[in-house]
Amino acid sequence: MKKYMYTILGLVFVSLCYLIFVSANIVFSNDIALPKAKKQTDSRYRLVLITRDMDTTFWNKVGMGASRQAVKEGASLEIWGSYSNNSEQFLKKLELAIHSKVDGIIIQGLDTDEFKELTKVKAAFNGIPIITVANDVPMKESLRRTYVGSDQFRAGGLIARQLLNEMGTEGNVVLLSDEQKEYYQNERLKGIYATLKVYPNIKVQYAETAESKDQVITTMRDQLNQMPDVDAFIAVNANMIGPMVQEIGKRSQVEPYFIYTFDDGPESLPLFEEGKIDGVVEQDPETMGEVSVQQLVKWLNGETVPLDINGYFTKIRILKDNRNE
């Protein structure tokens, strides 16, 4: 009887001790690590990468490359921007960056007056260097230090040549572009025209539209009505490829048409994977990010002054759909 009592008491004692140990461990544990306080910022440069298309595959890659390079250079980099091509928000971010007196701005170019005003007047007034990335704006209008990204003129040429390869030197082509006429789109168009103009049998129809999905669909409908015997489509603004393919699909099979675009739209690559698009110009966004940070730091360090006005071009190549062959 006494033995049982002692055993029970011992068990109770041990379990209580264990519970206390566990609870005390939780209560007195200091493992909630708060971030270490800092007196001074220790990275040399504060850089900002600003885009209008946050969280798209293309811009994520740019951001990745830029971040990697920033770590290498010992600079701190933040990626700001707006979603879905919201220019107002985008410009706000730019202004904020200027007022925040960051050491350098890497930005997706926007061919508007507000943008140019901000870069040319405000940024220059505050002595903040600006590098455009992926989408360029003219140097004279923006006072950008340089451009890092694809040679859009060449990209246009590349896509036109691919069109010629597949369609032949005869046919009707619809070029769908943006109302905003951004600089990089113009370059692409120039490239396409430059290649196609030597083939008189290719009839090019140029259409402009606003970027919203409904607008794109409406415009496409018009184009298809106007030119029922169209053979090929090129989406100069990659963001439009989704509604485009959708609208074509409504009318007939997508397969017979030759459809081309660039890879900086969110739907470009998925559609290409599905085989609905025949060719995509693939750019190198990671390298863009890397090179932009690299060049910016070089400029800030005074190593390369001035930067190449024409820009630093990254690789481009055409992705072909081989299933038709």
């Binding site: 008491l9 109770v12 004692f13 209580l16 001790c17 519970l19 206390i20 609870s23 005390a24 939780i26 209560v27 007195f28 909630i32 708060l34 971030p35 270490k36 306080a37 800092k38 007196k39 910022t41 990275s43 504060r46 701190s76 933040e78 202004e95 904020l96 960056a97 007022h99 925040s100 007196k101 960051v102």
Partner: protein
């Protein structure tokens, strides 16, 4: 020896110490959490301070631009100063997470101040002024936005901390419950043991006391503790042994008393016997006288004389016992005894006397010589068919009188002599006269109070000589 008090004190101290430890731990924990909490709260306050003061600057700037009074100017200056100090404060908030944003934040404030300064230098209604005013408003908005962003960031950063605090506070309640349970358990056990350590000795003592009360004194009282009870038990045990000793003493006393009683009874008996034995000799003595007269009347004078001698001897024996007499008297008795013995042994017994008459007045216990002579007769004359000679010599040796009784019998062994001189009873075949001899030795020694009063010289086969050295002094004093 105040160990019960010490026990209580120790016990209380331990309880207090345990309570204090718990209290200190909890207070420490609270304090730590409080400090962290205040720290975090302070960060929020700093951030909201910035937002407020920047808004104040913009408001004051607006007022100043509308009405450029010195009063408004003063206001603007002071709110600018507040913003400056708030800007300085913000440095405290910097950490690894918000480093970039915070730097931007600080620069934004810088921009606001710069723009404000620039604006103050401009004409009120100029185009640049309007533009800059709009810009300050925008910067103000940016600051507010960024404040929110920073606060949001803070929240995110400290989320694990808050969750940790919540978890900890839940755990703290549990901990308190476990602690209370454990402490209660320990205290209960400790109290149980503690009270047992006091009551058990008391119980033992009570049991021992009740056994004592029942009269069992044999069991030892032992209490295994080191406090007052043990002391009490020890004292109690001491008392028990004392009682046992006392009882022992009483028993011995009773035994002694019993023996004394017995002895008294024996004494009375012997007294009675001696009285009785005194009766017989008188009767015998008278009878002997009668017999002597009768023998005389019938013409047997020798027997008559013998009977007279026997009667005289008997009378002497009866009268003089336990009294000192002179040597002369003793010799007369010896003479009479020898006459009786000669009547028995006739020619076989020869008595030689060589007596210095001047020594006959020394004191000597009655019936001293007779037993020695009797001994000699028994051992020297009786066994010998040819009889023997007993020689008695009395010599004056100035300091004492030497009485020598000599026979030419078979002698004594050393052993027997030693036994006689040791006043032991000597068992000799057929007779118990050894008693007489031993008594003589005893009486002589008592009478003269010295041991060397008697000597025996003897060897087997060459007779025995008994030498009595009777001091003269003693005799004169005693008579």
């Amino acid at each position: 020896m105040n160990s019960i008090r010490r026990k209580i004190l120790t016990f209380t101290t331990i309880v207090i110490v345990i309570m204090s430890i718990i209290w200190i731990a909890l207070t420490f924990y609270n304090y730590k959490t409080q400090v962290k909490y205040n720290d975090i709260l302070n960060r929020y306050l700093i951030l909201s301070d910035v937002s407020r003061s920047s808004n104040q600057v913009i408001t004051d700037l607006n007022n100043y631009m509308n009405q450029s009074t010195p009063e408004n100017f003063q206001k603007l200056e002071s709110s600018k100063k507040v913003l400056e100090s708030a800007r300085y404060e913000v440095f405290k908030v910097r950490n690894e997470v918000n480093d970039f944003t915070l730097t931007n934040y600080i620069h934004l404030m810088g921009s606001l101040i710069e723009t404000t300064d620039r604006l103050m230098g401009l004409e009120r209604d100029s185009e640049a002024a309007v533009k800059d005013l709009a810009e300050t408003a925008r910067i103000g908005n940016y600051i507010s936005d960024m404040t929110l962003t920073l606060i949001d960031m803070e929240l995110k950063t400290h989320e694990p901390f808050y969750r940790g605090i919540m978890e900890q506070s839940i755990e703290l309640v549990k901990l308190a419950i476990w602690m209370i349970l454990l402490t209660s358990l320990l205290l209960l056990l400790a109290t149980y043991w503690f009270s047992l350590s006091i009551t058990r000795p008391v119980q033992q003592l009570t049991k021992a006391a009740s056994e004592l009360a029942k009269g069992k004194f044999d069991n030892e009282i032992s209490v295994k503790s080191n406090d007052e009870i043990a002391f009490l038990a020890k004292t109690f045990d001491h008392m028990r042994t004392n009682i046992i000793n006392l009882i022992q003493q009483i028993k011995e006393k009773a035994k002694l008393e019993h023996e004394l009683q017995q002895n008294k009874i024996l004494l009375q008996e012997s007294h009675f016997r001696s009285l009785q034995s005194q009766m017989n000799p008188h009767f015998l003595f008278n009878t002997l006288n009668t017999l002597s007269k009768k023998a005389y009347l019938e013409g047997s004078e020798e027997i008559s004389d013998l009977l007279v001698s026997v009667a005289d001897l008997l009378r002497y024996n009866l009268k003089q016992i336990d009294r000192s007499v002179t040597l002369r008297d003793e010799l007369i008795v010896v003479n009479q005894y020898m006459q009786i013995q000669q009547a028995r042994f006739t020619d076989r017994l020869q008595l030689k006397l060589d007596i210095d008459d001047s020594c006959l007045d020394v004191a000597i216990p009655a019936l001293t010589l007779q037993p020695i002579i009797e001994n000699a007769v028994i051992h020297a004359i009786e066994p010998n068919i040819n009889g023997g000679i007993i020689a008695i010599q009395v010599k004056d040796l100035t300091e004492y009188v030497l009485v020598q009784i000599e026979d030419d019998g078979i002698g004594m062994s050393e052993e027997v002599i030693t036994q006689i001189l040791m006043e032991r009873q000597v068992q000799t075949a057929g007779h118990s006269t050894g008693i007489g001899f031993s008594n003589v030795v005893k009486r002589l020694r008592l009478f003269y109070e010295r041991d060397d009063v008697i000597h025996i010289e003897s060897s087997l086969g060459s007779g025995t000589a008994v030498l009595l050295q009777i001091p003269k002094q003693r005799g004169e004093i005693h008579d």
